[in-house]
């Protein structure tokens, strides 16, 4: 059975996801999809318009890059009152990522994510793909 792209795991106070991807770009995309899933946007998108934003980031290692990627998307969603739903990674290595994020605005989540943490964050190779745990402060 294929791994789920992301699964919510138990955390007493905050929120955490186990994320899986067949390669690093899909790991990054699934982590982003999981984060917006946790923010619980109401399905009604009446009156909203499409929004596209380019993302280009550099970081000292892969884990920091993943945190920066999610932080950037969180910031873009807050600043643009947007729910981001589609992510196209155009390039990714261990210290940089370029991508296009698309979504709809105005859309407002019903659950707040304050930040993306480094807690327990380690990107591991498993079988044919990659896996990590991401913990969000809420």
């Amino acid at each position: 059975m294929p791994e789920e792209p992301f699964v919510e795991i138990e955390h007493t106070a905050d929120l955490a996801l186990r994320v899986h991807g067949r390669d690093l770009p899909s790991l990054f995309v699934h982590a982003a999809q999981g984060m917006f899933h946790l923010m619980r946007y109401p399905p009604n998108a009446e009156g909203s318009v499409r929004l596209t934003r380019a993302v280009a980031l550099e970081a000292l290692d892969l884990e920091t890059l993943l945190v920066d990627w999610l932080d950037e998307l969180l910031y873009l969603s807050e600043r643009n009152a947007a729910c981001l739903e589609r992510f196209e990674i155009t390039s990714l290595d261990t210290s940089s990522v370029r991508a296009i994020a698309q979504g709809a605005s105005p859309r407002y989540p019903t659950r707040s994510i304050k930040a993306v943490t480094f807690a327990d964050l380690a990107i591991r190779q498993v079988g044919e793909g990659y896996e990590t745990i991401v913990t969000f402060d809420v």
């Binding site: 106070a13 807050e78 480094f118």
Partner: protein
């Protein structure tokens, strides 16, 4: 995992993981708990996180945890760690993302019974006037120059604009302003996120509550704090909003490199830190202090909105009530304080992450009006079982760097709470108990259900019996606002 077999019982309410448990521990790890609360602590990974905290360079005496301890990220929530200056570290993960998340208590002088008929209208007006919810803006909008003033002046900035009194400042921890703040230490993004959120509550566990004093345990301290039985009080629980979150995000990221630079080995990257006196440590401390000031300005603004709303929404003579500040405490902060360690008074960086300062009598930091009885300690419980007012003690000064618990502490994850409780049902149940609820999100309300939290009475009993704070009064909710 740390199990009960790894713990030594030092006294009926103190449990210790000895330094020998793991070679990287620099001090033992201690938790204050009774048997029931210890069971809850061992149910998640918080003890492991406390042991990790005990590895921080420069940590003195113990890594400490209060009875409301639960799993966080990096430090556990309910954790206290003090490092010796100037070489001991400061860790943004030891403060948390919501810098100076804290609690303010206002006493109204109104008898609860006189307010009953007006509660629905009052709560509706408060819900409309105090912006709440995810990413809520709609607060006071300021420009960048004004924001820099807010960051350096804290609550005094709001009071200078007629949004409060000098008395409010005197009854606020640090008088609502950390002198170490420097607005230029913030990133442009942190500044941008702070422009329109002054006077907003936010979401999650933040709340605005109208309560009545249901019990007084210590008549002398209650009289000093100006609290009497059946009086209506207002609790405000919130922090530094997106600006504070960004300051922490920036620091955790930037310190990933600092850890390598200073050769610091850590068991969890969320514990990143830098020597307090280093450029990285100072940059964070100045930015954190500025975010703390923002939070105090935020709670000052919200207190102003609450006072205005009481005047607008209530008939005479209730509208003429003076909403007097009891106190304002922070429970996510790092402070430079002097404490006695091994018989010597030394300067420390005290991290309190989900822990409250609880300075005892006669300390100069305690407002003159309260100095004889100790600092007021404000412990929000949950929306069903109410909250407590305590007073700081000399024993807390000796044992916990003048610190105590900060709340009930969660025991159920958000998913587990949602499985047990539906928001609409909870609201109906609270309204049957004559508690008026105004909430932006029903699922958010369910996640904050009383069942998700430890028994606040049990947590307070432990700190009272352990001598880390003295029980003064309890309050029970009449009305609740959740974002």
């Amino acid at each position: 995992m740390v199990g009960k077999q790894n713990l030594e019982r030092k006294s009926p309410l103190i449990w210790e993981v000895p330094q020998s448990f793991r070679p990287d521990m620099r001090v033992p790890a201690r938790v204050y708990a009774d048997d029931d609360l210890l069971e809850a602590v061992l149910g998640d990974r918080s003890m492991e996180q406390l042991v990790n905290t005990a590895t921080l360079p420069g940590i003195v005496r113990y890594a400490l945890a209060m009875p409301d301890m639960h799993q966080g990220y990096g430090f556990p929530i309910g954790g206290v760690a003090a490092t010796a200056l100037p070489d001991g570290v400061i860790s943004p993960g030891g403060v948390g993302y919501d810098i100076n998340c804290g609690v303010r208590l206002l006493a109204t002088g109104i008898e609860a019974e006189a307010l009953t008929a007006h509660m629905p209208a009052l709560m509706t007006a408060l819900f409309e006037n105090v912006a709440s919810g995810v990413g809520a803006s709609g607060g006071l909008r300021v420009n960048r120059n004004e924001l820099a003033e807010v960051l350096e002046q804290g609550a005094a900035w709001a009071v200078g604009r007629g949004l409060g009194t000098q008395e409010d400042l005197l009854r606020t921890e640090e008088e609502g302003r950390m002198q170490s703040a420097d607005a230029s230490a913030l990133s442009p993004r942190a500044m941008e996120r702070g422009l329109d959120q002054i006077g907003t509550l936010g979401a999650g566990n933040h709340f605005l509550q109208v309560d009545r004093v249901s019990a007084v345990f210590d008549a002398e301290a209650a009289a000093a704090f100006g609290l009497r039985e059946d009086e209506v009080v207002v609790w405000i629980h919130c922090g530094s909003r997106g600006l504070g979150h960004q300051v922490c995000t920036d620091a955790v990221r930037d310190m990933q490199a600092a850890v390598k630079k200073y050769g610091i080995q850590l068991p969890d990257r969320e514990l990143v830190c830098a020597p307090f006196g280093s450029p990285e440590g100072q940059q964070y401390f100045k930015a954190m202090s500025a975010a703390a000031n923002y939070a105090w300005a935020n709670r000052q603004m919200i207190a102003h909105l609450v006072r205005e709303t009481f005047r607008q929404a209530l008939p005479a003579p209730l509208r003429d009530a003076e909403l007097r500040m009891v106190y304002d405490v922070c429970h996510n902060i790092a402070k430079v304080e002097k404490h006695r360690v091994d018989g010597r008074e030394i300067e420390l960086c005290v991290h309190r992450k989900g822990a409250t300062r609880a300075f005892g009598p006669h300390r100069p930091e305690v407002p003159a009006a309260y100095r004889a009885v100790g600092q007021p300690v404000l412990i929000p419980g949950n929306m069903g079982d109410g909250s407590f007012v305590l007073a700081g003690t000399e024993q807390a000064m000796e044992e916990t760097f003048g610190s105590t618990c900060h709340g009930a502490g969660r025991v159920l994850s958000r998913a587990a709470a949602r499985k047990r409780v539906r928001g609409e049902q909870l609201r109906a149940q609270l309204e049957r108990e004559q508690i008026v609820v105004r909430a932006g999100s029903m699922s958010g309300l369910a996640e904050e259900a009383p069942v998700a939290y430890k028994d606040v009475e049990g947590v307070v009993r432990v700190v009272h019996e352990a001598g880390l704070a003295r029980r003064v009064a309890r309050t029970l909710p009449l009305g609740v606002i959740k974002g």
